[in-house]
């Protein structure tokens, strides 16, 4: 089922390509030794190179290159053993040198692909055109004071990866799925933290619309959208606007636009006529970047297991449904947690507890897996008590809630509260006899064919035994007597 928008003149489909700027996790900047960490007082993470002082020269940071290669490998993309840095020249107040060093004609990573899965289970492959490295800009404010400019160069020179997709995306949902998947891969690789709030991942969205079967029409670029939700909104809003323009008999101008989430509209930022002439040319301060295949191979061998592989392995190894596996591999930490719980235990039961009760509890308490109040070992300990029939499933829920609150181990709680499951047939038979004696009328009805009442008897027996009876044994005892 494909996503379309209805206009006055008929059905339109949308075409979207995304350019994602992902900030590289590295100790130092792309071309200087200054710290690349986030935050800090203004201008505390700046070297003379970043500040564009006269005579300063860029020196490429090997770790940033390794990160770009790892990312390329994670995107199943071609690694270009020879790439090049160009200068992108334009007057922009946030560029200390007046140009940005960026890979333009020869990027380090070529074509690749990202697999996305939609809510209805559809799997699609979104093409990656390229990944290239470039410098981030600084921040300057010129309107705070009539004669002075305020400049913060902490971000200037930090390494970014620009990941450009093919115009393969056909719906807001696909765009969201693509971004989530990309972020997941980057986080797995440890090459970008994917934190859109802090700006370490942001997207430029290229949107156009067309009638089915048509070639591409004019596209507009929506700059710097900083949340997945906004990207999805922006696509819808912009596509709707473009359809209106076409249907009114006008033409969509190729231009750069801005998404305003508060007013749910996109606005023109600059048109093509006054678009920047970037004046690219190879940076004469840097030699072409040549990497050895052996190094690429070494980086590849050291790559962590990627989410898709991990999901497939979970399905295979643990026999859990693909959907559950997808949920469990969403973040590396969750997957690790799950594997710890599942180790040597009933893997399906473990999956249910992690995706069900644990996620619910984390959601309720506003925590994440890394600061979960119940450790994987603790949860495993509880599952052990279920497996060896010390407690039943129902009691387990109660124990879980107690663990959440007190942080005690399951065994301690069971001990403290006397929750040990009763498997003594004598006690169970006695309770069954008692319940049946007190509900003779219901026994009659049951025997008269009202099968539904069986559950009632089970409930009454469990209640009489404070929930501690082994449910299977209760069932058996009841069946026997009834």
């Amino acid at each position: 089922m494909s996503y379309t928008l209805e206009g006055r003149t008929g059905t339109w489909e949308i075409v979207v390509g995304l350019e994602v700027h992902a900030q590289v996790i590295s100790h130092s900047k792309l071309f200087s030794g200054a710290s690349a960490s986030y935050g800090g007082e203004p201008n505390t993470h700046v070297s003379l190179v970043d500040a564009g002082f006269p005579g300063m020269l860029p020196v490429l940071n090997r770790e940033c290159v390794a990160q770009a290669i790892r990312t390329g490998l994670g995107l199943r993309a071609r690694i270009n053993l020879e790439s090049r840095f160009d200068r992108k020249n334009y007057f922009y107040a946030d560029l200390p040198t007046g140009y940005q060093i960026s890979q333009f004609t020869h990027p380090i990573v070529g074509e690749g692909t990202v697999e996305i899965e939609l809510a209805d289970g559809t799997v699609r492959h979104i093409g990656i055109t390229r990944l290239h490295m470039e410098q981030d800009a600084g921040k300057s404010m010129h309107d705070q004071d009539p004669t002075r400019s305020f400049i913060d160069l902490n971000r200037a020179g930090v390494a970014l990866m620009e990941i450009v997709s093919e115009p393969d995306i056909r719906s807001p949902e696909e765009a969201g799925a693509y971004l989530r998947k990309l972020r997941q891969i980057l986080r797995y690789l440890g090459t970008c933290d994917g934190n859109m709030e802090e700006g370490s991942m942001r997207a430029d969205v290229n949107v156009s619309v067309r009638k089915a079967g048509e070639p591409f029409r004019t596209r507009c670029e929506i700059k710097n959208v900083n949340s997945i939700r906004y990207v999805m909104h922006a696509i819808e809003v912009e596509a709707t606007r473009q359809i209106e323009v076409w249907e009114n008999g006008s033409e969509v101008d190729q231009e750069t636009r801005l998404f305003d989430p508060s007013r749910n509209e996109t606005r023109s930022l600059r048109s093509k006529e006054d678009a920047h002439d970037y004046r690219y040319f190879p940076d004469p301060d840097l030699l072409p970047l040549v990497v050895e295949q052996a190094w690429v191979d070494e980086l590849e061998r050291a790559l962590p297991e990627l989410p898709d592989d991990k999901r497939d392995r979970f399905v295979r190894q643990y026999g859990i449904p693909r959907y559950d596996a997808s949920v469990l591999v969403a973040e590396q930490a969750i997957a690790d947690y799950y594997e710890e719980v599942a180790k040597g235990r009933d893997a399906r039961l473990a999956a249910n507890w992690v995706t069900g009760d644990l996620f619910g509890a984390l959601n309720r308490t506003g925590r994440t897996i890394t600061d979960s109040p119940i450790s994987a070992q603790a949860l495993g300990g509880m599952l052990d008590l279920v497996s060896d029939k010390t407690i039943n499933g129902k009691i387990a829920k109660e124990v879980f809630e107690d663990m959440l609150e007190t942080g005690d181990s399951a065994a301690d709680i069971v001990e403290r509260k006397g929750l040990k499951q009763v498997t003594d047939t004598g006690a169970i038979d006695a309770a069954v006899a008692d319940v049946l004696a007190r509900n003779a009328d219901k026994v009659e009805e049951y025997r008269g064919g009202k099968d539904r009442l069986f559950g009632f008897f089970v409930g009454q027996v469990m209640k009489a035994m404070a929930g501690k009876a082994n449910p299977a044994m209760v069932n058996e005892a009841l069946k026997k007597v009834l």
Binding site: F53, Y280, D285, L286
Partner: protein, 494 residues
């Protein structure tokens, strides 16, 4: 002999023999600067007090037998090299108050070896010029005079201040930078030796960029031996410059005495260009004879793309300069000139900060890089540049070095060519091709022309073979016996 007329080699020996102290040596030069610089304008900034202090330290080191190769040697530093705490202007208004908190690698190397800096020498603004008349701090006067004519002559450019200072005895040697001939051409005009090393031989770190793919630092001095001594200190790999080349620095001084027997010297036909003065043609012929006499075999070679050298240079160099100079936007360097908008502020600041020649080259560079012209100009120029480089590479399969004139004419008078930029650009016609190819080249003074002005010949060598250049240069120097001194010099000033 006066202390200001010694070579570096002799001065270093004299210091070690305690014939004179470093303080005496440096004071002779700072006195000469005080006397002559008001006229020559060879220095933008003088650092006499600091120099005398450094000289005192050099004397202590000499006394303790801990002298370094350049201990106590007074040098002029082209004001394009950043020197820590000392104003570094690039001869531009936009940097007139800039005192870098860092030291360029080349000057740091010289300081490490004990050199004493007496001042920052004048140049064409951002090294753009061939006559040292585009400096925001005024033109430099060539210390030489034409016979019977008191007209102020240009020293050549852009390292004109360094050349004039060395020729006039205001420094024993100096640093220069050469982008299209900016060491060799002023050396020729001022009767001194100037060496542009192979691109990548000296670090560019801390040198204010003009055209990054061409800029190269090199020594200027009154003898080939002195250039060898200075290059020894300046050269070497630097991790802070990605284009600096990691190969060993040989013993350059040892190369100056080397025999030329069996060396093949190419004479490129294309350098017999139009406008070459007959006296320079004659000097060239004389140079050929001298090298023959020294045991060289002379071979006619062809560098067919020479004629495109200058045109190509004036695309590549302005393109890079337009980019390199974009950082001077009034926000961090120079006087900020207010404007109604940010763009207006940039425009006003850059108009006030840059002189006409710099503006002209920024405009040319911006034009050739702009969308729609890039392929026609910049990309084409890069292709031609490859062909020029190939010409040299192929020639060097036949010969060991090339001999050509350095400049088509001797020094001219201030104002003689300045109204025609294209005419001015022709001064670099013989030096530009080696720059485009990244080859090492040097200019050696070989005689005086009819008007009594020095004439230089250029030697061009294989990449990283500065040794052969130095060997051939010292042979030419010995044969020429060039002992002429300029009219305006330290000894005369006393």
């Amino acid at each position: 002999m006066s202390l200001t007329e010694l070579t570096i080699a002799d001065a270093a020996a004299g210091l070690r023999a305690r014939k004179f102290s470093a303080v005496e040596l440096v004071r002779a030069h700072t006195d000469a600067i005080a006397a002559l610089n008001p006229r020559l304008n060879a220095y933008i900034t003088t650092t006499s007090d600091a120099a005398l202090q450094a000289a005192a330290h050099a004397d202590e080191a000499l006394a303790k037998g801990e002298a370094r190769p350049l201990s106590g040697i007074p040098l002029g530093i082209k004001d394009l090299f950043c020197t820590s705490g000392v104003r570094t202007t690039a001869a531009s208004n936009i940097l007139k108050n800039f005192a870098p908190p860092y030291e360029s690698t080349v000057t740091a190397n010289l300081l490490r070896d004990g050199a004493v800096f007496v001042g920052k020498t004048n140049l064409d603004e951002f090294a753009m010029g061939s006559a040292n008349i585009t400096s925001a701090f005024g033109p430099v006067e060539n210390p030489w005079k034409r016979k019977g004519d008191d007209a102020a002559l240009v020293p050549g450019g852009s390292s004109g201040g360094s050349a004039a200072a060395v020729a006039a005895g205001l420094a024993m040697g100096a640093t220069g930078t050469d982008t299209g001939g900016s060491i060799r051409q002023p050396a020729a005009y001022c009767g001194i030796v100037g060496l542009k090393p192979t691109y990548g031989r000296c670090s560019r770190f801390g040198t204010i960029a003009y055209a990054s793919s061409l800029d190269q630092a090199g020594p200027m001095a009154r003898s080939v031996q002195d250039c060898a001594i200075l290059l020894q200190s300046m050269a070497g790999f630097d991790v802070r410059d990605s284009t600096s080349v990691n190969c060993d620095v040989p013993d350059y001084s040892a190369a100056t005495g080397r025999s030329l027997k069996g060396l093949k010297v190419g004479i490129p036909a294309e350098y017999r260009a139009e406008g070459l003065s007959t006296e320079i043609e004659a000097a060239w012929q004389q140079g050929i004879e001298w090298l023959k006499a020294a045991g060289c075999e002379i071979v006619d070679v062809s560098l067919p793309h020479t004629k495109y050298g200058l045109a190509t240079y004036y695309i590549v160099a302005p393109a890079e300069c337009s980019s390199n100079l974009a950082r001077y936007d009034g926000l961090r360097f120079g006087e900020r000139v207010p404007g109604d908008t940010l763009d207006a502020m940039y425009e006003a600041t850059r108009r006030a900060g840059f002189g006409p020649e710099v503006r002209r080259r920024i405009m040319m560079g911006t034009y050739v890089l702009s969308a729609g012209y890039y392929d026609a100009y910049y990309l084409k120029a890069q292709k031609v540049r490859s062909l020029i480089r190939r010409d040299f590479t192929e020639s060097f399969q036949q010969v060991d070095l090339l001999l050509t004139p350095t400049a088509p004419t001797p020094a001219f008078a201030q104002g003689e060519q300045s109204d025609d930029p294209v005419q001015m650009y022709l001064n670099d016609i013989f030096t530009v091709p080696a720059s485009m190819a990244g080859m090492p080249a040097m200019s050696v003074p070989v005689g005086l022309g009819a008007t009594g002005l020095p004439l230089g010949l250029q030697l061009i060598g294989r990449p990283f073979d500065e040794e052969t250049l130095l060997a051939a240069g010292s042979a030419l120097e010995a044969a020429a016996g060039f002992t002429h001194r300029p009219a305006l010099r330290a000894e005369v000033a006393k």
